[in-house]
């Protein structure tokens, strides 16, 4: 007898959760203030980058993180010293949240010598080793086994570090992802694979990229633990992602986490985003974690408009300064193109 598959495909149209006033989703006043500021820093950084792109100061592909900020902010607070984060090409938010200087990030986008990787990588290849951002990979899925390799090294050495590997919903279909997950499961590596499911890979909705709506249905096939929820607040994301990291760290086993989220801008700056209608984007805006945190600050913690304004002004000033730094930084020296191709032995 042929069994029907365990999780039959249901409708693909993910609807945003309308989280209402569930206060449990929020933190203390200090938490919310900090989270709000951090999310805002990312958003303002991205907006500055977008403007610079429009002014022709930045070139190549520029993928913005607007809408997904809560994930990077929650992650930052969960990182322990030996942990590392590996991600794809939508990584500015991680860098900003983890403590990379916004000036160095902006300078990278400008292709300047002072950039995060000396202007060699650009937006798609952010690496900031000391701030625990270990890439920055632009070929979809090819970082998934590499991240398993970091977890492998930790286990090999008996260290306690956990690797967090972020990938897009679009990266689930590709073979290297499958092989990385297979080895992580087989060798019980201390790694958390986080699928940032923002419902689209470029213009392709999930329903046209994989045969199931719930990506964590795949976890069983890799002997991974699993977790899945919509990102509506830093608090909840931190709690649930933290639990996944604890499992990976303490039991040395891989965990698959699917975070349902939304990007408010196009795939990259060159994408007008015609494949989504306004109503859809508007619906998701109502559950924008940053916006909701701001509402919470207002309603739960009595933060005034003026205080919020002041935060924004500080953040804008920081990002203006980052832009100034990038603008004024020198281009890489001509010889730089011959550096770091091979190590000199």
């Amino acid at each position: 007898m042929v069994l029907p598959c365990a999780g039959p495909m249901t409708s693909h149209a993910s609807e945003p959760v309308a989280p209402g006033d569930d206060n449990a989703h929020f933190g203390s006043k200090e938490d919310n203030l900090r989270w709000y500021r951090e999310m805002l820093r990312i958003r303002r950084f991205e907006e500055s980058a977008a403007q610079a792109y429009t002014r022709g100061k930045i070139s190549g592909f520029l993928h913005l993180y607007i809408g997904q900020e809560a994930i990077a902010v929650a992650t930052k607070e969960l990182l322990q010293p030996h942990d590392q984060v590996v991600a794809a090409y939508r990584t500015h938010g991680f860098a900003i949240a983890f403590g990379s200087a916004p000036g160095a990030c902006m300078a990278e986008l400008y292709g300047k010598a002072t950039g995060l990787v000396g202007g060699i990588g650009g937006s798609m290849h952010f690496f900031d080793r000391k701030h625990q951002l270990w890439g920055g990979y632009a070929i979809v899925g090819n970082h998934v086994p590499v991240a398993a390799g970091h977890a492998f090294a930790a286990k090999y050495r008996g260290e306690s570090g956990v690797t967090l590997c972020f990938l897009g919903d679009g990266a689930v279909a590709i073979g290297p992802t499958h092989e990385g997950w297979t080895l992580a499961g087989l060798w019980k590596l201390p790694i958390v694979y986080v699928v940032e499911n923002n419902l689209y890979s470029m213009g392709t909705p999930l329903s046209r990229s994989i045969p199931v709506e719930d990506i964590t249905l795949k976890a069983a096939g890799y002997n991974m633990a699993r977790e899945r929820f919509q990102v509506t607040s830093v608090a909840e994301t931190k709690a649930r992602l933290g639990e996944a990291m604890r499992l990976a760290r303490e039991e040395s086993r891989p965990v698959l986490v699917e975070l349902i989220t939304y990007r408010f801008r196009g795939h990259s700056m060159s994408d007008p985003g015609k494949y989504r209608d306004k109503d859809e984007v508007e619906a998701w805006r109502r559950s924008d974690p940053m916006e909701r945190t701001m509402q919470a600050l207002r309603r739960l913690h009595g933060i005034s408009e003026e205080e919020l304004e002041a935060i924004d002004e500080e953040v804008i000033a920081e990002m203006d300064e980052a832009v100034r730094f990038a603008e004024e930084s020198p281009a890489p020296a001509p010889e730089a193109r011959f550096h770091n191709i091979l190590a000199e032995s």
Partner: protein
């Protein structure tokens, strides 16, 4: 003649062949609803429907393989790689299946498939997104490899590629999709395997293809200003190579430069050189020089990228060197 962009020449070639032959279909990332990442398939989904214009997931090995399997059944898939950089994850399908199935099955099956998409550097895309793939594919018996540089060639050669019984790797250029060129209103085909003299000349032969063509032509103009008359040969088909066209020119000019977008080591450029020195040894008055990428992964920064890329000036310098001017 209509003046159209290369992207539209490509789209028209696909549309005409799809209209002509029910077996032809197009698949790839974003080719349908998005109309193509570089709009080379604009309007095709609307015209031909989801059955024949398929958006794929990001699974190059998967959809390249599906294309190969469908071609074995007699369909004629056109598989778009969003850029050829992403064909690296499908390398085995092209090397071990597309190129070998006719041979391996002793002719029981053929694989009439076209793999197409933009190749080589665009502008500030960094090292993973700026690679020229012809060295990897032109090396392999069982494949046909084409690189186009004009709207006319793009349309005529793509139509031939779609009709060909063999697997064809068809290299386009992101930098050049918007370049316009004249294309006849009536239908035409360009035969695979024939180079084209893009500029006749008598003093030196510049062999080039793909994104190299406009650079080589500018080099030739610069050289003309110095009284050097360069002949520019666009190989168009890289495998099989039109060696005769190259040799005929070199036997006339006695000097050659190979100018292309790509790394120097090995590859198509070296094959051209090996052929010339082997078959026209006594005709050569100077070594054949290469003008191409510097031997480094492509940096993102604009100033560095510009230094790495082949330029008309570097082309001119090589032309001067082989003609012993300065």
């Amino acid at each position: 003649m209509a003046l159209i962009q290369i992207r539209h020449a490509i789209r028209d070639a696909i549309a005409e062949e799809m209209a002509r032959d029910e077996r032809v279909f197009l698949m790839g990332e974003e080719v349908g609803h998005y109309n193509g990442a570089y709009k080379c398939s604009e309007g095709l989904l609307e015209r031909f429907g989801e059955r024949r214009v398929l958006d794929t997931p990001i699974a190059e090995t998967g959809f390249a393989g599906v294309g190969i399997g469908a071609a074995m059944c007699g369909l004629r898939p056109i598989v778009e790689f969003m850029t050829f950089n992403f064909s690296a994850v499908a390398f085995d399908q092209i090397l071990n299946n597309a190129a070998k199935i006719r041979h391996m099955t002793n002719g029981q099956f053929s694989v009439p498939i076209v793999f197409r998409g933009p190749n080589a550097a665009a502008h500030m895309l960094g090292s993973t997104h700026s690679q020229a793939f012809e060295p990897f594919y032109a090396h392999v018996p069982g494949l046909i490899v084409i690189a186009v540089a004009t709207a006319y060639d793009a349309k005529g050669l793509l139509k031939s590629a779609i009709r060909d019984e063999n697997p064809v790797v068809f290299l386009e250029s992101e930098l050049m999709y918007s370049v316009k060129g004249e294309v006849p209103e009536e239908e035409y085909l360009i035969p695979i395997g024939k180079a084209d003299i893009k500029r006749p000349g008598k003093d030196v032969t510049v062999i080039t293809w793909g994104q190299g063509v406009p650079v080589a032509l500018r080099s030739a103009e610069l050289a003309a200003a110095e009284g050097i008359d360069a002949e520019v040969i666009d190989l168009r088909t890289l495998r099989p190579m039109d060696t005769e066209a190259v040799l005929t020119s070199v036997r006339k000019t006695n000097r050659a430069v190979v100018l292309f977008h790509g790394w120097p080591y090995g590859g198509v450029g070296c094959e051209v050189i090996a052929q010339i020195q082997e078959q026209a040894f006594d005709d050569l008055d100077a070594p054949v020089l290469r003008v191409c990428y510097e031997d480094v992964p492509m940096p993102y920064a604009e100033n560095l990228e510009n230094l790495v890329l082949p330029t008309a000036e570097r082309g001119l310098a090589a032309i001067r060197a082989v003609t012993y001017r300065r």
